[in-house]
């Protein structure tokens, strides 16, 4: 997979500015969809009391994920370095199969399409898809 071009980075940063203020809503919806549409992902959350869409733990986790993605946008020039500790967390503690990063990414894109139907153009879509794939790669760095 290719790395992010200058145009990709600009597109991502410009589009992500729209997200400000909507992080909770978007994050909650993305995680809710991931758990509902791809039930295998629920296996990572057996410690939650309530896995239903919009539940308290889902909402909280959605916010956590969105804070991390927003942080990644700010570190877009060095994702591997910037996401080092998150990679260690996912590799050694959480041990999420990296194939699932794609799943969450896809659900996030679906939510962005519903929230920003006019701004989420094909050009923005490809830049965001590349960005989330790069984030996934950075998170997978420490796995082995």
């Amino acid at each position: 997979m290719t790395s992010l071009s200058a145009k990709d980075k600009d597109t991502v940063k410009a589009f992500w500015a729209n997200v400000a203020g909507k992080e909770e809503q978007i994050g909650c919806d993305a995680v809710s969809r991931m758990l509902t549409v791809y039930p295998q992902t629920k296996t990572y959350f057996s410690h939650w009391k309530d896995l239903r869409p919009g539940s308290a733990p889902v909402k909280k986790h959605g916010a956590t994920v969105m804070t991390a993605v927003t942080d990644a946008v700010s570190k877009i020039d060095d994702l591997t370095g910037g996401l080092l500790s998150l990679s260690e967390l996912h590799a050694f503690t959480l041990r999420v199969d990296p194939a699932n990063f794609k799943v969450l990414a896809h659900n996030l894109l679906v939510v962005l399409a519903t929230v920003f139907p006019n701004d989420f153009t094909p050009e923005v879509h490809v830049a965001m898809d590349k960005f989330l794939a790069a984030v996934a790669r950075a998170l997978s760095e420490k796995y082995r």
Partner: protein, 147 residues
């Protein structure tokens, strides 16, 4: 045989009754060619696919998008027999078109995103799950005749 709940059947039929095949087909297929550019390898005869603007305004892309939606409608009209419905199309994609079947879900993802942007709040997680299941069955049926 695939078992569909009443909710799933209704959800899928509802989606297809609400969307404009020409609009959604063009949007989903052009998105696929833009977001996953390697899929362009199968459309050498389509003319100018040089950049997103060219793809979006390409008339052959638009008409093929509609063809895809009409083909999907066949499955919606006979949800108990999707495998049989696509037997011929599967052989076509395998033997004549020689499409890598991993590409099918890439188009599926783009279609999901376009449907989501059209239906907005109505595309709830539960409806989304039903749609994803439908796409998985379609893709699986299209893969059947590959050997």
């Amino acid at each position: 045989m695939v078992v569909w709940t009443d909710f799933e059947r209704t959800a899928i039929q509802d989606i297809f009754s609400k969307i404009d095949y020409a609009v959604v087909g063009q949007a989903a297929f052009s998105r696929c060619l833009i977001v996953y550019p390697w899929t362009q390898r199968y459309f050498g005869g389509f003319g100018n696919l040089y950049n997103a603007a060219a793809i979006t305004s390409n008339p052959r892309v638009a008409s093929h998008g509609k063809v895809i939606m009409e083909a999907l409608e066949k499955a919606v009209k006979d949800m108990n027999n999707i495998k049989a419905t696509y037997a011929e199309l599967s052989a076509l994609h395998s033997e004549k078109l020689q499409v890598d079947p991993d590409n099918f879900m890439l188009l599926g993802h783009c279609l999901t995103i376009v449907v989501a942007s059209q239906l907005s709040k109505a595309f709830t997680p539960e409806v989304h799950a039903a749609f994803q299941k439908f796409l998985a069955v379609v893709v699986s049926s299209l893969r059947k005749q590959y050997y």
